[in-house]
């Protein structure tokens, strides 16, 4: 089956209002998991899909970082560690929440990269659809932010917006014809001082930015036939076909 882009969703976590129907289920969740679930909720609200034939491909550069630091707080203070807190610091906890809440029983893969996490996950989802392993795939990237990272970047750096982007791939929509992600070695701080350029001329300064740009284009105008990204840590090439 050809992979087609059916729907998109974007979320800014700094002004998020958790939907009432998710409040109980997310009462213990950290910001990262909340971002993944809330973005999926927005993505799937008008969609029909079979959870048995749907996969979840979650990606992130920094994961549940604040939760990670909360665990360190307990460790450096030599205090007992909360099992709930530890469980939420594990990167794929968000996939457990999302699969449970949305009834998804296909593969639930979480992957992380400082470079192009969304596009690497997208390539995996595209392959799963083309192999007819699934009828739908949800591709999500979520990023939280912490003052630790901000300090690491230095005083002149602009803080990133915490947020999430999600795509639903399925049998209908805009054909995703091609995707290729090539990473190349680069110095570590180049990843924190993120600088990438897309083929429509936009300069991107954080790893969520390209997904946000594509979502904006999808919802306001149309996606370009080709969309390429270039940076010191590699390239991404995307090609879209005709909508059906």
């Amino acid at each position: 089956m050809t992979a087609k882009l059916t729907a998109v969703a974007s979320l800014n976590l700094s002004d998020l209002e958790i939907p009432a129907e998710l409040e109980n289920q997310l009462r213990r969740a950290d910001l990262f998991t909340t971002g993944v679930v809330a973005c999926c909720h927005d993505l799937l609200k008008d969609q029909t899909f079979d959870g048995e034939q749907t996969g979840l491909f979650i990606s992130t550069a920094y994961g549940p970082m604040q939760c990670n630091l909360d665990v360190l707080d307990a460790l450096v203070a030599e205090e007992p560690l909360s099992p709930t807190l530890f469980a939420h610091s594990v990167f794929n906890t968000a996939s457990g929440y999302a699969s449970r809440i949305f009834g998804i029983h296909g593969p639930a893969v979480t992957q992380t990269s400082f470079s192009y996490p969304f596009f690497t996950a997208l390539a995996q989802a595209k392959f799963a659809l083309e192999q007819a392993q699934l009828t739908h795939a949800i591709v999500v990237q979520a990023e939280t932010y912490s003052t630790l990272l901000e300090d690491g970047k230095g005083e002149t750096a602009t803080p990133w917006p915490p947020g999430a982007v999600a795509w639903l791939l399925g049998p209908e929509g805009l054909e995703l014809q091609y995707i290729q992600v090539n990473e190349t070695p680069c110095p570590p701080l180049s990843r924190l001082h993120y600088q990438a350029t897309s083929s429509i001329g936009t300069r991107h300064h954080h790893p969520l930015s390209m997904g946000l740009e594509l979502n904006h284009l999808f919802t306001t105008t149309t996606l370009p036939t080709r969309y390429d990204i270039d940076s010191g840590f590699g390239t991404v090439h995307l090609q879209f076909g005709d909508p059906t």
Partner: protein, 403 residues
């Protein structure tokens, strides 16, 4: 099409041994070092399996990349296994930069920032040295490995908790099938860390004695550390290079429980889907499977759910073992190490018993092999499976090219 993906190289290190050869001999002879209290301060009394005392860090200068920053243990375990796997595959480090190489590695510990000293100083506004932050930004296992090997192509970390290594091999195989690369370096690695140790202890999942997978008196898991790596490529590629491969990744499947943040589904819903998908993917039936390297952590919930899942998919008659009694639970490394040991067992036509298991729990619906029940295998196709936090499950169908 899946039949064309072969395994040309294997490498592993863990408490069982510094390399695959030593690990296999120690596993068969039950000569592996026992677990011990961790070297870091803790109030918990839960032993761990640390890397085998004969293991030493690989010489990084043998690889093409120029790396000057210090490397963490997870990366060094991984490089040790990669070095061995590349040698078996007949791939010199100098040859890699000219190929399309995907690096797909599972890890959990190394996704986190866990430099406690830096963090303590940062909280006190007393950071003098950004080195630890640089290290963190260099710590993505796949990206760092790519830098060291100076390769070009996809590089990603699969962080599906305890299933990470299994998924990494499956996803790496998919990348070959999708023509995203020519060679795949896939598997998993993790090191012992205070963060994971205290986390698992807080969840009351750790045994206070050496773990006893599938045993009636099992009391939980012991954490471990190490790495397991496979080199994958198209069979045609291996043939052109004149390399005799050791077998195939026949199938891969994954399934999600959608049940609980940390506990497996009691009826193994996701595992059943993962195994069924993997069998279908490989065109294999349950009757073709002659050996299963189970997840077998030694926790009551895991072992119960895992055996229920196997019974449901009619995999209750072939030898089922766990190797965690000699490696401990190496988290993101487990799937890689266990896939490598599965291939080795299939090649040898022999399965050691489950070290640590003295009396199989009679309540399990499948009867795994205890420590004394090493057995000759009836065929060359086996399965390595993983169950994870978050309800992730995955399975690899592996076929050995019999010697």
């Amino acid at each position: 099409m899946a039949h064309s993906i072969c395994v040309t190289g294997l490498g592993c290190c863990s408490s069982a041994g510094k390399n695959l050869h030593q690990s296999w001999i120690n596993l068969c002879d039950n000569r592996c070092p026992p677990p011990h209290q961790p070297s870091f301060p803790t109030v918990h009394n839960a032993p761990v399996f640390s890397i085998h005392p004969s293991w030493s860090a690989p010489d990084v200068s043998q690889f093409a990349g120029q790396i000057t920053t210090p490397l963490n243990p997870t990366t060094l375990f991984c490089l040790s296994a990669i070095r061995d796997a590349l040698a078996m595959a007949g791939l010199s480090p100098e040859s890699l930069p000219s190929k399309r190489v995907a690096i797909v590695l599972g890890t959990t510990v190394r996704c986190h920032f866990h430099n406690n000293d830096y963090y303590r100083n940062w909280k006190q506004g007393n950071v003098q040295d950004q080195g630890p932050m640089d290290c963190y930004l260099n710590d993505n296992l796949a990206t760092m490995t790519q830098q060291i090997l100076a390769t070009h192509g996809p590089a990603t970390v699969i962080t599906n908790a305890c299933a990470s290594g299994t998924d990494a091999i499956g996803i790496g195989r998919n990348m070959l099938l999708a023509d995203q690369c020519d060679i795949v370096i896939a598997g998993g690695a993790d090191e012992l860390s205070p963060l994971a140790y205290h986390g698992f202890a807080s969840l009351l999942l750790c045994s206070e004695s050496p773990c006893r997978p599938f045993d009636v008196n099992r009391g939980g898991l012991n954490l471990g550390e190490g790495a397991g790596i496979m080199i994958l490529e198209h069979e045609e590629s291996a043939r052109k290079r004149g390399i005799r491969h050791c077998g195939w990744i026949r199938g891969y499947g994954a399934g999600s429980d959608g049940y609980h943040p940390t506990a497996p589904h009691p009826e193994a819903r996701g595992l059943i889907r993962a195994v069924s998908t993997a069998l279908k993917d490989g065109g294999i039936t349950s009757a073709d499977i002659s050996f299963i390297n189970g997840h077998g952590t030694g926790t009551r919930a895991n072992d119960r759910a895992e055996t229920i899942g196997l019974k449901t998919v009619h995999l209750d008659q072939c030898p089922l073992v766990s190797t965690k009694g000699v490696t401990g639970h190496t988290l993101g490394g487990a799937g890689g190490i266990e896939a490598v040991l599965t291939m080795q067992a299939l090649q040898e036509g022999y399965s050691p018993g489950t070290i640590g298991c003295i009396e199989v729990d009679p309540e399990l619906v499948v009867t795994p092999c205890n420590a004394e029940e090493g057995s000759t295998l009836a065929g060359s196709v086996g399965m390595s499976q993983s169950l994870a936090f978050g309800g992730g499950n995955s399975a690899l169908i592996i076929e050995a090219r019999v010697k």
